[in-house]
C-alpha cells in the first residue's frame, strides 16, 4: 500500500481529492450520495472517458492532439449520412464504420507529423481547422435528427428500482466505455507495442537506438486516438439522439485538461489509464456537485479550473515543498 502511494502519487492524490469532494457534497446536497446519481455520473462521463483514454495514448507517445473532438464530429456526420444511404445497419456495422473513419482521420495527423516533421500541436491545430471547416462547409451547419432507430433507442443493460423509487441504470455508453478503458489499459501496460510507446515518449532517441520503428509509433498512437474518437462520436450521437456538427467543438480542451490532471505529461512517457479515468471523474463530479448545489452554471468553468489547478499542484508537489518554512534554503550571511 505504501509503495503503491509512492509510485502512483498522482492517482493517490486524485483519489483523495475525489473522496474529499464527494464527502463534502454528500453533506452539502441531498442527492449526491445516492446510487442513482453515481450511475448518472458514469453514464454522462462515458464519452469523455473514451476520448480521454485515446488522448492518453498520444500523450504517452510524446504527442498532443487538438483535432480529435472535431474529428469525432466528422465521424458522426459521415456515419449518419452513410447509414442513411444504406438504410439501417446495426451497432456492429456502426462501430466498424465510425472506428474506421476515426482511424483514417487520426492516421492523417500521424502522416503529417511523421512525413513532414511537423510538431504535433501545429499539425493537429491545422487539422482541427480543416476538419471543422470542411464539416461546416458541407453541412452548412445543419443537424441530422433522422437517425436509424437502433442508434437512437436507449439500450439499458441493467436497471434496478431503489426503495425510494429512483432507478439505477447502466446503459450502453457505460459498457462501451468500460471496453475502451480495458482495451487501452491492455494496450499500454500489457503489450510490447504499448511499452514501446512509453519508451518512445520518454526518450525518443533512446527508443530509436533500440530499433523501435518511429513512424509506426506515431501511426499507432494517433490511430488509437482516432479509433477512440470515432467510437466516442457514435456513442455521443446515440446519447444525444441527434448529430449536431458543432456539438463536440471545444470538448478537446476539457478532455486534455482532465487527462493531464490524471497524471499524463505533456512531453511524453508518463500517464496511466486509472489516473486518466480519475481525472475525468473528478471534473464530472465537481460539475455534478455544483449542479446539485444550485450553483450558477456560469460559475462552473471557473470552479472547475480552480480545482484542476489545486489537484495538479497537489500531485506534482511533494508536501514539504508546500510548506515554505520547512525549506532548507538557508539564510544569507
Amino acid at each position: 500500500m505504501h509503495s503503491y502511494i509512492r509510485t502512483h502519487a498522482t492517482e493517490s492524490a486524485l483519489l483523495l481529492v475525489i473522496l474529499l469532494i464527494s464527502l463534502f457534497l454528500s453533506f452539502a446536497t441531498e442527492n449526491f450520495f445516492t446510487l442513482g446519481n453515481a450511475f448518472d455520473l458514469l453514464n454522462t462521463s462515458s464519452v469523455n472517458i473514451i476520448f480521454a483514454v485515446g488522448l492518453l495514448v498520444v500523450l504517452i507517445a510524446g504527442g498532443i492532439d487538438i483535432s480529435f473532438a472535431v474529428a469525432a464530429s466528422v465521424v458522426q456526420y459521415v456515419t449518419a449520412v452513410m447509414l442513411g444511404w444504406i438504410g439501417g445497419g446495426n451497432w456492429l456495422f456502426g462501430f466498424l464504420l465510425a472506428g474506421t473513419a476515426g482511424i483514417v482521420l487520426g492516421a492523417f495527423n500521424a502522416f503529417l507529423i511523421h512525413r513532414f516533421r511537423i510538431i504535433s500541436i501545429v499539425a493537429t491545430i491545422s487539422t482541427f481547422n480543416i476538419y471543422f471547416g470542411l464539416l461546416m462547409f458541407f453541412t452548412k451547419g445543419v443537424s441530422i435528427y433522422d437517425l436509424p432507430d437502433w442508434l437512437t433507442t436507449r439500450v439499458v443493460l441493467f436497471e434496478h428500482e431503489m426503495a425510494n423509487g429512483t432507478w439505477v441504470e447502466i446503459t450502453l455508453p457505460v459498457l462501451v466505455m468500460v471496453v475502451c478503458v480495458i482495451a487501452t489499459w491492455l494496450l499500454i501496460t500489457r503489450t510490447t507495442t504499448g511499452r514501446q510507446l512509453y519508451a518512445f515518449g520518454d526518450n525518443p532517441e533512446g527508443a530509436r537506438r533500440f530499433g523501435i520503428p518511429i513512424g509506426a509509433m506515431q501511426f499507432i498512437a494517433f490511430g488509437w486516438l482516432g479509433l477512440m474518437a470515432g467510437i466516442a462520436g457514435l456513442v455521443q450521437a446515440h446519447y444525444a439522439q441527434e448529430v449536431v456538427p458543432n456539438a463536440l467543438y471545444g470538448r478537446e480542451l476539457d478532455v486534455l485538461a482532465a487527462v493531464v490532471l490524471g497524471g499524463a505529461r505533456l512531453g511524453g512517457g508518463k500517464g496511466s489509464v486509472f489516473g486518466c479515468v480519475l481525472g475525468v471523474l473528478l471534473v464530472s463530479i465537481t460539475q455534478n456537485g455544483l449542479n446539485l448545489m444550485g450553483v450558477s452554471p456560469f460559475a462552473f468553468k471557473m470552479i472547475v479550473g480552480a480545482i484542476i489547478l489545486v489537484a495538479i499542484t497537489l500531485s506534482n508537489t511533494s508536501i514539504e515543498k508546500l510548506l515554505p518554512l520547512a525549506r532548507s534554503e538557508g539564510k544569507r550571511p
Binding site: T191, T193, R195, Q196, R209, F210, G269
Partner: protein, 504 residues
C-alpha cells in the same frame, strides 16, 4: 560462455569493418574507415569530438546505414549494414554516453527492454523481465529495487543500469561511449573491475573516449580516428596520454607550468569560513588581481556549489565574503553580475548559451545595459561591442547573426567567455571551461585565460582534470567533500603529487 581462446592469443577478429563511408548533409563524417575487435580484448577507440567515433558506433549497431561498398563481418558472417535488432540479438551492445535510458519506466524494463523490441506485438512478460534484470544486476554485484522507476535513482546508479542492460543476453562485444564522463574515481575503478571481469569471460569491450588515461592500463589496442579518417591502430603497451593526444589532433603540445608569484597584487576576493550546509564547509581563500586560482577535486566535492554561492545563485549558511575589501552578499546573480562577478557555467550547452540564437545575441545577453540608447537596444552599439570581443578573443565566425550552434565547441566557449568579459567583471569564475572542447582548441582557451589575467582580472579556474589547473593556474586548491584539504604551488609541487592526492 567462458571461452579460453577469447581472453588472449586469438587474432581472428570477432567484428571487422572495412571501407566505411558516411556523409551527413554534404559533410564527410567517415572516410574509408576500417575497424576491428578481437574476442575478449579491451580496445580503445580514441578521437576528438567530431572525429567520427559516435558515427562509427551507430553504424556498427545499425542506427545508421553506411554508404554502399561497406563490408561488415561479425562472427564469420558478412553484412552490408546492421539493424539495431539483429545487432543486439547477436551480442553487440552499447552503453551510450547519454545512457539512452527511459527514466519514467521501471529499472526492470530499462534493463530488459530488449525483450520488448522486434517481432510482432505480443504480451509483455513482466516476470521474465524482472528475472533478467535481477540476474544482470547480480552479475555486477548490485541490488536495486527493479520495480521502481529509474528516475528515483541517481546518475551513478543509472550508469549501472545501463551497464546491466548491456549484459543482458549473450554480450559478445560491449561498446562504452565516454563511460567515465560522469563518474567519480571510485565509480570509475569499479567500472574498470567490471570490464576486467567481462574481458576474462571472453566479452570484448571497446572504450570510446577522448580521455583515456584511466583505461590505458587495461587496454590491449587503440584505434585512433581524426576528422573522420583512420589514423592507425596501436598497441596500448608503452602508449601515453600525450602520445594519444598527438595522434588525435595531429599536433604536438608542449605544456609548461604558467604559474607566477602574485603575492604583491591587491586582493580581489576574500572568503572566510564560507559554509553552505551539506555542500561545502569552512572555505577560506583569497584571489588577487591578475591571479588565476585553480580549484580541483572530484565530482561532488562542492566546487560548483561554491562557485554558485559566489555568483549569488545559492546562499551560504555561514561565513563572510568580501570583494575589493567590501563585504558582499547577493540575493540573486543579477546583483553578483552588477558587483563584477562573472560565472561561466559548467554546462555550456544547456545553461551557458542559447543555441538557436545568434552569436551576437548570445554575446550581449549579460550586458544589455551597455548597448541601450534611448531606452531601446541600439543595433550599432551591439554590433561594435560584438565586433570588439570577437576580435579580442579571436573567435572564428561567419556572420554575427549566424546561430551559435554553427560554431565548434572551442569557438562557442570563446563566445561564452566574451559574453562575461563584456560585463566588465573583476572576478571571472570558469567552471570546467574545456568540457566538450577539443584538445586542440583547449590550448587556445587557456591562452585567453592567461592574457585576461595579465590585464588584472582575478580568475577562479575550476576543473576535475588536475593537469588543467596544474598547468594553467598560479595556485591550486584541492577540494574534497566540501572542504579545502590542500594548497599547491605548481612551481614546487609535481603533477603526479597533486593527482595522487586528488584521485586517491
Amino acid at each position: 560462455m567462458n571461452n579460453p581462446a577469447g581472453a588472449e592469443g586469438n587474432d581472428k577478429p570477432l567484428l571487422a569493418l572495412r571501407h566505411i563511408n558516411m556523409t551527413f548533409g554534404g559533410v564527410k563524417a567517415l572516410k574509408d574507415v576500417s575497424f576491428e575487435v578481437r574476442p575478449g580484448e579491451v580496445h580503445c577507440l580514441a578521437g576528438e569530438n567530431g572525429s567520427g567515433k559516435s558515427t562509427l558506433i551507430k553504424i556498427i549497431t545499425g542506427v545508421y546505414r553506411p554508404e554502399t561498398g561497406a563490408e561488415i563481418t561479425y562472427d564469420g558472417q558478412a553484412y552490408s549494414h546492421m539493424s539495431p535488432v539483429t545487432a543486439q540479438a547477436s551480442g553487440i551492445k552499447v552503453i551510450w554516453q547519454d545512457l539512452a535510458l527511459f527514466p519514467e519506466m521501471s529499472v526492470a524494463e530499462n534493463i530488459a527492454f530488449e525483450t520488448m523490441v522486434g517481432g510482432w506485438p505480443r504480451l509483455v512478460n513482466y516476470g521474465r523481465m524482472r528475472n533478467i534484470a535481477t540476474d544482470a544486476l547480480a552479475r555486477l554485484g548490485v541490488s536495486l529495487d527493479v520495480d521502481l522507476p529509474l528516475k528515483s535513482y541517481a546518475i551513478a546508479q543509472r550508469q549501472i543500469v545501463a551497464i546491466a542492460r548491456a549484459l543482458v543476453g549473450e554480450a559478445r562485444v560491449v561498446f562504452m561511449d565516454e563511460p567515465t564522463a560522469s563518474l567519480t574515481q571510485s565509480e570509475t575503478d569499479y567500472l574498470l573491475d567490471i570490464v576486467r571481469n567481462l574481458s576474462a569471460s571472453g566479452v570484448a569491450v571497446v572504450f570510446v573516449s577522448h580521455r583515456l588515461a584511466e583505461v590505458l592500463e587495461i587496454s590491449s589496442r587503440i584505434t585512433v580516428l581524426r576528422d573522420g579518417a583512420l589514423v592507425g591502430v596501436y598497441p596500448a603497451d608503452g602508449m601515453t596520454q600525450s602520445r594519444i593526444t598527438e595522434l588525435m589532433t595531429g599536433k604536438t603540445f608542449d605544456q609548461q607550468v604558467r604559474a607566477k608569484p602574485k603575492q604583491d597584487r591587491p586582493v580581489v576576493l576574500e572568503l572566510e569560513g564560507l559554509t553552505r550546509r551539506g555542500q561545502f564547509e569552512d572555505v577560506s581563500l583569497t584571489v588577487r588581481s591578475g591571479e588565476t586560482l585553480g580549484i580541483t577535486g572530484l565530482l561532488g566535492a562542492g566546487r560548483t556549489e561554491l562557485a554558485l554561492s559566489l555568483f549569488g545563485m545559492l546562499h551560504p549558511t555561514a561565513g563572510r565574503m568580501a570583494l575589493d575589501g567590501r563585504p558582499i552578499s547577493f540575493s540573486s546573480n543579477r546583483e553578483a553580475i552588477a558587483a563584477g562577478i562573472a560565472y561561466l557555467s559548467e554546462d555550456r550547452l544547456s545553461l551557458g548559451l542559447v543555441q538557436p540564437q545568434s552569436i551576437a545575441d548570445n554575446l550581449v545577453i549579460a550586458s544589455l545595459r551597455k548597448i541601450i540608447a534611448g531606452g531601446l537596444i541600439s543595433e550599432d552599439r551591439k554590433r561594435s561591442l560584438v565586433k570588439h570581443w570577437i576580435a579580442e578573443l579571436g573567435v572564428k565566425i561567419g556572420l554575427q547573426d549566424d546561430a551559435i550552434s554553427t560554431l565548434s565547441g572551442g569557438n562557442q566557449q570563446r563566445v561564452a567567455i566574451a559574453k562575461w568579459l563584456a560585463t566588465d567583471p573583476k572576478l571571472l569564475i570558469l567552471d570546467a571551461p574545456t568540457v566538450g572542447v577539443d584538445v586542440g582548441a583547449r590550448a587556445g582557451i587557456f591562452d585567453i585565460v592567461a592574457r585576461l589575467a595579465e590585464t588584472g582580472l582575478a580568475i577562479i579556474l575550476i576543473s576535475d582534470e588536475v593537469p588543467e589547473v596544474y598547468f594553467n593556474a598560479d595556485r591550486v586548491l584541492h577540494m574534497k567533500k566540501g572542504r579545502i584539504v590542500g594548497e599547491y604551488d605548481p612551481r614546487q609541487a609535481s603533477l603526479a603529487e597533486i593527482e595522487e592526492a586528488v584521485y586517491a
